[in-house]
């Protein structure tokens, strides 16, 4: 096996996002998968603890609010994907809604990266919205947080 120095690593935001997805899986996937997911959650927790300490990152109410938002948007998107199978008659509508939720999640991720001092143009997630409702949702939820971020 060739040893090499790792040059590209996940950001703290990536790890937090993954933690929220694994938490969904731990509850909703069949029990046979859960031990592996529990192990992944432990690893994510361990890496995040180390990164917060090494980088002297400050945990704030705003970071926790953004984390909660990403966490809930991922769960709502998961539910949309379930509905794609369960309710084929509303497939397109559900898919569009899921796209909007993903756009909103990316906005929240970008703010998290900024708050955690790890933002860069390359890491910026693109967010686009495909429905009028999605645009309204974005304006409603993110305007407040982006204003504070830019002040």
């Amino acid at each position: 096996m060739i040893e090499h120095e790792q040059n590209f690593e996940f950001t703290v935001t990536d790890l937090m996002d993954q933690m929220t997805i694994d938490q969904i899986k731990e509850v909703l996937l069949p029990p046979a998968s859960r031990d592996a997911i529990g192990g992944s959650l432990e690893s994510l927790s361990s890496d995040l603890t180390v990164l917060f300490e090494d980088r002297n990152l400050k945990l704030t109410g705003r970071v926790l609010r953004l984390l909660s938002l990403v966490s809930q948007l991922n769960l709502e998107t998961w539910r949309c994907k379930d509905r794609l199978d369960d309710e084929p008659e509303s497939y397109t509508e559900t898919l569009r809604h899921a796209q909007d939720l993903n756009g909103l999640r990316n906005c929240a991720r970008n703010l998290l990266q900024s708050d955690l001092n790890e933002a860069s143009p390359a890491r910026q997630r693109a967010s686009f919205f495909v429905t009028e409702e999605g645009l309204k949702l974005r304006k409603r939820i993110m305007a407040d947080m982006e204003q504070i971020s830019n002040s």
């Binding site: 704030t60 109410g61 926790l64």
Partner: protein
């Protein structure tokens, strides 16, 4: 007459719980969105103050607890939606809501423990999940401390 300062304040776990519920309402209830945003800003500020004096041993585990609490509250929201949508399933949904509330309270107690903020009056006692099957959150495994 000078009024004495208030002496009872919400714990960090109560603040986080409320924040995650407002987050749901801010998305689901467009008509009152600004009100939830305003309250959330106030909660953020109080959380900042409490985090300053909290001694969190494992930030990663603390984040896991917040993620789990946030999602359990959203699952409870879904159960309440089901309850309204399907009246014939009212009893079934009521029971599931009660069971999930037990998990939610376990998570809140763990947050109190993780932040060294345990005061007996703040500890939740309604922890039972009454035979709930299929739900496992590994962050609740082990000694509750």
């Amino acid at each position: 007459m000078v009024k004495p300062p208030r002496s009872i304040h919400p714990s960090l776990s109560e603040l986080l719980d409320t924040l995650t519920v407002y987050q749901i309402k801010e998305i689901m209830d467009a008509s009152n969105s600004e009100s939830y945003a305003e309250e959330s800003r106030a909660i953020e500020s109080d959380i900042d103050d409490l985090l300053e004096v909290s001694d969190i041993h494992s930030i990663g585990d603390f984040l896991r607890l917040v993620v789990a609490l946030s999602q359990v509250n959203l699952h409870i929201w879904y159960v309440k939606e089901e309850m309204q949508k399907y009246p014939e399933r009212f009893d079934e949904c009521t029971k599931l809501g009660h069971q999930l509330n037990g998990i939610r309270n376990q998570l809140k107690n763990r947050i109190l423990t993780a932040t060294q903020g345990v005061e007996q009056s703040g500890v939740r006692t309604n922890l039972g999940t009454d035979g709930l099957e299929g739900w496992r959150l590994s962050i609740l495994d082990g000694d509750p401390g």
